[in-house]
Symmetry: C2
Amino acid sequence: MNAYPSKLVERAVEQLSTLPGVGRKTALRLALHLLSRPPIDTHTFADALVEMRDGIVYCRQCYNISDTELCPICSSPQRDSSTVCVVQHVGDVMAIENTGQYRGVYHVLGGVISPIDGIGPDDLKIPELIDRVRSGSVREVILALGTTMEGDTTNFFIYRSLSGLDVRLSVIARGVAIGDEIEYADEVTLGRSILTRTDFDQSLSF
Amino acid sequence: MNAYPSKLVERAVEQLSTLPGVGRKTALRLALHLLSRPPIDTHTFADALVEMRDGIVYCRQCYNISDTELCPICSSPQRDSSTVCVVQHVGDVMAIENTGQYRGVYHVLGGVISPIDGIGPDDLKIPELIDRVRSGSVREVILALGTTMEGDTTNFFIYRSLSGLDVRLSVIARGVAIGDEIEYADEVTLGRSILTRTDFDQSLSF
């Protein structure tokens, strides 16, 4: 797809293809779709994106996306503010919220430590996490980062930074996913699920 | 994904999920991606789409998207303006152009006749096609619409409308795609490819 009939379309395709998972062919399809709809639709579409980007606020406590200075989770009296779940991204908060299994609060790091990309602890909300724990109201920190080398490094850095403070540090369980066949589970996960097995009578309570 | 952390994100997700092939989960991923990039990127992105939608011009002869009143294909002296290929959408023009096999010009209908959707010949550029042929400079009209009932209806309508005029009406070849195994070709296509077989020595020239 080289020959775009119009520079305007070409520019729109270029911009659309900067989205993750959108190649030039899909971008063209999206551009032609916008052209097939009334102009007002494209204005509404573009306005929604710009207003989101310009108007977005991050919660001053957990750094989750919010419409207010303190997000609904942090300000809710229903939530246990002494349990803090540490996640990489805003999307992770939504994923955990959708399970309906967690009543604590969050701390969004904004990424993980990655020396190769030049991302150190101070580029993330790690100092803020340590301050939050030091302030004394946190009893447990749950690590829920991705299981990559960077995630493990970040976990270890937080573990070291919090050592000496009176706080329980836990990490979410890794194991064979519910509904998965043992036969098809990857060996690292399966091996770990055997090492970190739980008592059967304890598993009955879930 | 019900609990959006922000109304602004929710509105952006709603708008993004109006795109074809984008569900709410993908839309959320796209919205979070935009949030992870500098605000100026979202402005550039939105501006490109709005400028395309507002600035787009359709060629007054073939109704293809264009930056000028007469599109580069229609205005090119290299193209054979006596052969007109009739297509449904702008994307079809690009697909045919990318083959590098066609030296004629186009006529973009903007859709096909579909009584169920209330689309009649006058909602499309069919009257314009007939006028174009009547003007006398067209020697062949090639039908390249989709093989759906609506495409066939439209083909037949054009066939009837052009009957009596001194113009050759052809339709693109349907058959087993190059690289496809005979065994896996669908039976309608395979049946038609046998009925419309070509002389072997003729096929050698391609």
